[in-house]
Symmetry: D2
Subunit: 289 residues, 4 copies
């Protein structure tokens, strides 16, 4: 574990950079200031990069568009690996037909339709279609009525033995400098405990997320895990997951983990990154320890 | 563990009977058919009885009234021990003033006001009063907006180090023969996990519930635990809690635990009642094992 | 939550003091220096005091003797409430006969024999007696072969549906200034998870421990919870348990919780004591915050 | 989910078969009777097959030898994927030098030395080498003194912030028709809870295990997940893991899951295989449902 002044000196050692989105590239207020210089540098150096995100609320194309609007055209849909894409792969391979019920916004239903299946909001489950529901997906915390639809989801799972996918395992996410919102992963964890069944989780720290990104690269060229570094702001998702997959890792202090607590948190969790940087901005000045 | 044909032969051995409410005395459809004969018999035999319930949605007086309306005048307020009463005792002893924020119906706020404190629905927390909130209580799953108020509760606990009470630890409760609803204990468990703090739980299987009932009796007369039997329909609340407190226990098959699964459940949980009866109705005919 | 310079000014407000043992009255090195002055003061002021401890390795008489040898004659057996005593009460009330298997030292078997039952070390379970084993108790981490006897305990519980008691819920305990040992509560938690059954836990933070001490006092005289303060070094056992039972609480910094981390730990766990003192020694000089 | 009479009709639909070892190919008594016919059929049909096992107690070569001695020469080292191999890959990529401490037999240390690192049994950790220990691996439940070495492992992790690998996540394994032994995954789970740190788990149901096998195939030829079926006896490792990775799955009733309980278990866990077969033996007669 080494503190490194300039993020540039870290990425100079790797050919491919995986970035977490929230707390690394953007925050609830917009882009992390200066982050566009990092992507300009990566493009100039012809290094490959991917956003590896537990965000299943939108399609990669829609996610890319939010970056473009913020002034970061470098992040196109093909540079985005979302937990929603793993959900889509699962549905394609494992669910043969019928309805896939979901909790989330209408946009998040995209991943279901992309798998050639019929998306059914949990609110529309009734006696006429419940026997044709072949999976339930937790996609996003918005777009539905919590009281009615969480209760409906519990009762669906009491009646039907079907796979349940948590497409975003985060329990909460920041909405302002002081506030958070309960994420769909938190709601899903409650329902899993209530019904006593085992759900399938896609998203960091699970390896399948990293494997999906790794396979994407291998479609173009051979690659070794030694060439890749994972950059994240959260120890138990980005860093734990990256480490377990065998990647070097960089913890940045622009999001969930703050400078004054970083050493305590690493010691208490036992999760140590390869490097610690102030942020993922390439030319940021040094910092004092 | 013994199967007993007639509930009468069990209660004849004890002076005091503790009953769980839901699944034993009443169901979502009303009283358990014939249960009024049990209470008539208890009164005739001059045996003492208490309803020991994880229900904090109403005051004992209001709970008693629901029994009266159903045709069971024998259950008066002084025969009811609710987890809400433990919450009230806690507040009286441990919270000196200010507001007590709560999630639940207006009626459930009764327990807070009974402790001489000001009840504040979570929805009404704002910048002007948040610093005066000295406790948060989970009372009931109804009476508030889940999306807005659960998120507000999370953010309250990120800003204030205050005790949090779960006044009903159940995770779900039956609403029809096939459906359940998420209970406030399920919501509270989710928020406890998200904020990472330790909440205080009142309600079976916790011993404090049984101790409260036990102390109520001792106000009138000396008593030994040998004189009491706990009657319930749920292994991991009524039976586990009764056993741990040192009471004999009766599992009845009129609620959560059904005849075809009772042996498997006892073996798999390791929680064994002293007796198993078809129901808590005194003159019920025998059953075959 | 208030920092108080002198422990004396805290106890002057109460009639009865409950003390945790380890980290408050003694450490692995012997008595906490100066603690004898606290007990001299309590006796002079005619205040009542109890050691409330999760230690089931020895009988109260044997525990008292260890204090006498250390130079603290004030702690006699009738001032000690141990989780072993709750175990003994449970066995007396709930186990009718046969063998009670246990893991622990020979001395810890005392609690079983005190209940009029036959203690059987797990190592001596065999085909001839397994069907007469009516309970299993985890008493201490010493006195048995971990490999053989933990495996035997697992297989006992796969064959017999019997109550299992954890008489000391601690997961680890300090043995030197830098080292800890796995406690019997840690071993029991592992076996509970492996066999998937629900064990009964006696010991702080569980209320039944406090109730037992409270009842002991009430045998002599009427008492209100307002008259009692609980003194401990551990937030999630002594302080959480005392708070939940409705007692005022003092966190001392002579054991598990250290001065530099106390505020962080209180904020992160949400468990706040009524007072914080440097130690339970009455004339200790002030400290600076 | 379909009951299939003859395992042959399942494997005829796939090009590659993944087998769990214990409960599928062998039991504590030796080979599953008739299983050699399955491998003869696979070789005749030129289908590819792999043993995918959570066994890190021996090298693939040593594991293969145990099959040869049992009379199954078809299982050579290159057909075995063990969780120990993932551990070795992790060490190669993530640990630069120094000692790797381990709990397990001497043979299990093979995976550490195979990564070019120095294996140090936990029993040999002392003040002179503790600062050079750069990882701790849980490899096997045998080969060390539980009391001394589990306590040493706890204290190592209190002093050093190093990655901890659980190379076999099983909590217990059968040793006779009626008995089980605590597995190293059970011991590791206890220590993880005691020290409060997050360990890295390799082994089913984790996807990385399946990915490792999948990559092994792709070294030789292109492959789709549609061509592979996973055969196992345990719902929450083999079937859950296979399903999550996107494979079709077969539950066989020759091990952990028995015929009389299979439907209850599938319903209660929510984990459903694609097929259910009596065993993985190709010509087994039909069974009645």
């Amino acid at each position: 574990m080494r503190y490194v002044d300039n993020f540039k000196s870290v990425i100079d050692q790797y050919n491919i950079i995986f970035f977490d989105a929230f707390g690394v590239v953007k925050t609830y207020q917009g882009l992390v200031p200066g982050i566009e210089k990092t992507f300009a540098y990566l493009q100039q150096q012809k290094k490959d990069y991917y956003i590896v995100t537990n965000d299943a609320s939108r399609s990669p194309a829609q996610l890319a568009e939010t970056y473009h609007k913020l002034g970061l055209p470098a992040i196109t849909a093909d540079h985005i690996i979302s937990s929603g894409m793993l959900t889509k792969e699962y549905l394609t391979l494992k669910v043969q037909g019928g309805f896939v019920a979901y909790l989330g916004t209408d946009e998040s239903g995209h991943y279901i339709e992309g798998a050639g299946l019929q998306a059914l909001p949990v609110s529309q489950i009734d006696d006429s279609n419940i026997d044709k529901v072949n999976a339930l997906i937790f996609l996003d915390d918005e777009g539905f009525d919590w009281f009615n639809d969480l209760n409906k989801a519990v009762n669906l799972l009491r009646k039907r033995t079907i796979p349940v996918i948590i497409a975003n395992t985060d329990h909460a996410y920041p909405t302002t400098v002081k506030d958070v919102s309960i994420a769909v992963g938190g709601l899903a964890m409650m329902i899993e405990k209530i019904v006593g069944k085992e759900f399938i989780r896609f998203g960091k720290p699970d390896s399948q997320m990293f494997m999906f990104a790794y396979d994407r690269i291998r479609e173009h060229r051979p690659v070794s895990k030694k060439e890749i570094v994972m950059v994240g702001d959260t120890l138990h998702t980005d860093i734990l997951g990256g480490n377990k997959f065998g990647l070097d890792t960089v913890l940045v202090l622009s999001g969930n983990t703050q400078e004054h607590e970083v050493e305590t948190r690493i010691r208490s969790t036992g999760i140590a990154p390869t490097y610690i940087c102030q942020s993922a901005v390439v030319d940021l000045g040094g910092f004092d320890f």
